[in-house]
Amino acid sequence: MTYEGWIIITGVLAGASCSIIGVLLVLRQTAMISDAISHTVILGLVSAFLLTGTLDSFTMLIGAAVAGLLTTIVIQLLKNSGVQSDAAIGVTFTAFFALGVFLISRYAGNVHLDVNHALMGNIAFVPFQTVTLFGVSIPQAFLFVSIVLLLNVAVITLLYKEWKLSTFDPALAVSLGIPAVFLHYLLMTMTSVTAVSSFDSVGAVLVVAFMIVPAASAYLWTRKLSFMFLYSVVFSAAACFSGYYAAKWLNVSISGSMAVMTGVIFLISFLFAGENGVITRSVRQKQHRNREWNRQPAFAPADGKREL
């Protein structure tokens, strides 16, 4: 495949795996967890390096995933102890992030642990780091991202009705014996593994954008959960294509440009999405009002008034 092809396909797959997780996060009102995890990944990377002394991708992946999970556990503990949900998130991830940056600058300053890279990712270099699988040379990031995507799809389809019920009505789910707490931590684990796998290629910023924005846009277009998953994958893919070519044209950061494109798609959805769009809604209301107006006789009959 071509250089461009690998970049776009990696972006699309990362987008797909982030956005299907994002659908659940958005519906469970835990969208900011993705922001928190994307920040604390730094702590995981530097801790993994300081503990093992290596920079190999797999170690980094494990370290980051553990840090992500730890973040969600701490947030949950704080919440259970009565800290406001948003404050719990804010306190935890900023602390973890600060610790990560502190450790980097104190103990790992001379090592290539580029914080900017962590933020913006390095999608332009994806095609250069390859591994050979069954005699074919494919980019390592592509491999990671596709494995995680498969995992996510499997976990979500296998437990589809459990996710649905425990998201919509946790009390009923528990009373039916669905393990809601287990599902919560499973989702948190998936979020952090997904963030980490996509993180190396597309960067923290785009991970957050992919997790929240396509799902939020899809939410405005559909009334069916399955369609929400589908649309959010489509939207994130569209953002990848348009973002890549916009970046190429303007010679700017690819992942930044993809993130902006998710925003453009959201803006369109926000304004025009069927009955939820701000503009379509007001147009429809105006039409409706006009119709009512035309239907009304010029002089309201006396008994019409009484009804009011």
Partner: protein
């Protein structure tokens, strides 16, 4: 080490910077207290991230002039706030989704602009990177002036509007009923948040600025139930964190200021969370345990009264009446015996 510090304190520039971060910490603690009560802790996170494209645009328009950069940051902070409100109000999306959405898209835009700047001829010298993590030590007196005056301005606004903000947050409808302009009061508070975020990003960085708003306030909350006390405590914690962070990062030039400031504040939060009287975790666990014990003893006594017969033969029927498991029942039985509730 101590000599290092002393010699540092002799440097006039550092004294300025210390004063500046102290004011900054103070003001963000104060504003943060109101933000916490308004349940908008993470709005500051969105604002500070949204400041990046503003800073970049400011740079593209006017070059590395602090007023331009800060104006850009403030304008984008306001836009992000407005965006969150509009999304929340005009769609079924919840507030946290709106925050995350605005945050990531705007930060993405910021990165696009940042790469645009770095690719341009003037880019290498831009030094805009330091806005991401903050570098207080590199601030020059005019930067400090700007930061301090904004911080003082915001503090003054908080003192002026103390009771108004309090009521508007607690019971907006009642405040409206008093004929207050709740919308204006809310806007002034929002503007204060934007200003303090804008002022702080140069010192502690875009990514960690939100912590300076959230953490001192939530730490202070543990020690008191009164807003006045909470605001004062938060400002002290914020100021202390600011000063400590600046000092440590000045001693070891390699460490950016932001993380150390935030870590200091977090340690204070953590200690408050664990050890504060009444609201602290430890106090609550102990109180609950005591309550349980007292309650169990009451039950044991009640059960004793409900069972007829002599004490020695009572045990079995007493345990049944109490409905406790063997171990627990034995303990309670011994307690009853020790205190001579039966012979």
């Amino acid at each position: 080490m101590i000599q290092d510090w002393l010699s540092l304190l002799g440097s006039p520039n550092l004294r300025w910077v210390l004063l500046g971060t102290m004011f900054l910490g103070m003001a963000s603690g104060i504003v943060g207290s109101f933000v916490l009560l308004r349940k908008e802790s993470l709005v500051g996170e969105a604002m500070s991230h949204a400041a990046l494209p503003g800073v970049c645009l400011g740079f593209l328009v006017a070059g590395r002039e602090l007023p331009a950069l800060m104006t850009g940051a403030a304008v984008f902070g306001l836009i992000s706030l407005w965006g969150i409100r509009v999304i929340h109000r005009h769609s079924k999306l919840k507030q946290d989704t709106a925050i995350g959405l605005i945050l990531s898209v705007f930060f993405g835009l910021g990165i696009v602009l940042l790469t645009m700047i770095t690719n341009s001829p003037a880019g290498n010298k831009s030094g805009l990177d330091s806005y991401i993590f903050g570098q207080a030590a590199s601030m020059v007196p005019s930067d400090v002036w700007m930061m301090s005056s904004i911080a003082i301005l915001v503090t003054a606004a908080a003192l002026l509007f103390f009771k108004e903000w309090k009521l508007v947050i607690f019971d907006p409808l009642f405040a409206g009923g008093l004929g207050w302009k709740t919308k204006t009061l809310n806007s002034v508070l929002s503007l204060s948040i934007v200003l303090i975020v804008t002022a702080g990003i140069q010192a502690v960085g875009i990514i960690l600025m939100s912590a300076l708003i959230i953490t001192p306030a939530i730490a202070a909350r543990y020690w008191t139930d009164r807003l006045g006390v909470m605001v004062i405590l938060a400002s002290v914690i914020g100021a202390f964190s600011g000063v400590t962070g600046t000092l440590i990062s000045a001693v070891d030039g390699g460490i950016p200021t932001g993380p150390v400031v935030v870590l200091t504040a977090t340690v204070i939060f953590f200690l408050s969370f664990l050890f504060a009287p009444k609201r602290g975790k430890l106090a609550q666990v102990l109180a609950h345990r005591q309550f349980r014990r007292r309650w169990k003893k009451q039950q044991a006594l009640k059960a004793l009264g409900s069972v007829p017969g002599t004490a020695a033969s009572k045990y079995e029927s007493w345990q049944k009446a109490l409905g406790a498991k063997n171990n627990e029942a034995k303990k309670l039985w011994n307690w009853l015996k020790k205190n001579r509730y039966f012979m």
